[in-house]
Symmetry: C2
């Protein structure tokens, strides 16, 4: 488990809380969210069943907490990495690489986020996934910055493009984690995807 | 329900079978697959519970049948529409328009395919979705044709691009069906997406 926990997060500095989250990622990715019981998570985390309810309301809350913490971690990484870059092209390239690299390094977590989370009605239909909109905003900001600096064409609507770009990255990540025999390394997917999106957004010379 | 049924399909020419499929789309899209019972589908279809088991093994089989029939219908539409076109650019444009137009016309079906189907572990992890690979093959053929006719750059790997393009279309379709207040018409999404992908694949003049 390479899922690095944000140090600033008070809850995650709590050892038991962290053990439960890690165990839930393991259990949900192996057994599937619907087939998992809170007791299974407790067993892997080596805590009493009741301990889990001190930190989480229920199994759905546990799933949503995994999402929220991993998004926080992603934002930390993106901010750290992107602040050293000023060119929107470099930012776009780094963003795509970072997303696919984190999927590669955290495959259990990726299964939870890409398969299990989306099978939760609570998440898909009831929960206001603010952190997902923050993620989309990161892409939108890169596009708008690139349009302002005349790297990208203003003909493309950033609202629509950010969803299309997220969809493309997300689908390649899903294919990659579900592929039994990896046909290509994640770096190759990142390179190709950047090329496709960069060409797609680029301001024409004429 | 504008979901047009392929006339050539023997099963679907059976009235009861068709009524059950239509009812299942209605029930699953409203209540969610996990919260739906076969009895709920029977009630809406106005058939006895046992009748459903004459045609379908179980609830999962019903869900997968919806997927298979709707993919068959999509292939029919694509083949009919695309055979009149010879330019790969027109084909790509029409493919994107057709996908988003069908989502627009069949929103209940789209919810079943985009939210409910993917919440099925059976579908995501056990079922060999041959028809999904056929769908991807349609995109790949357009890309390869465009590369051969020197419309599209050969620098882009068609294997990776077809998944990225599917991901982009699929995510825009999902956003569109989940949006309570449509911020833009589906035609606008299709236009923008075509522009982005066309620019992305286009052979550079230099």
């Amino acid at each position: 488990m390479i899922f690095q926990l944000p140090i600033t997060d008070k809850k995650l500095s709590n050892d038991k809380y962290k053990k439960i989250i890690d165990a839930a990622i393991k259990v949900f990715s192996k057994q599937g969210f619907y087939n998992s019981k809170v007791a299974d998570v407790a067993k892997v985390a080596e805590v009493a069943d009741g301990t889990i309810y001190l930190y989480f309301k229920n199994k759905d809350d546990l799933l949503i907490s995994i999402f929220e913490h991993s998004m926080d971690y992603f934002f930390q990484q993106v901010q750290k990495d992107l602040k050293t870059l000023s060119c929107p092209l470099d930012k776009l390239k780094r963003f795509i690489e970072l997303h696919l690299m984190l999927v590669h390094k955290n495959q259990n977590l990726a299964i939870v986020l890409q398969v299990e989370l989306r099978s939760s009605h609570k998440f898909m239909k009831e929960y206001q996934a603010e952190k997902f909109f923050q993620y989309l905003k990161l892409i939108e900001d890169i596009i708008l910055d690139g349009q302002e600096k005349n790297f990208f064409t203003k003909e493309i609507n950033a609202e629509i493009a950010k969803r299309a770009i997220f969809g493309a990255i997300d689908e390649l990540a899903l294919e990659w984690i579900l592929m039994k025999h990896k046909r290509y390394p994640h770096e190759e997917a990142a390179k190709q995807l950047f090329q496709l999106i960069y060409n797609g957004l680029k301001l024409k010379a004429d």
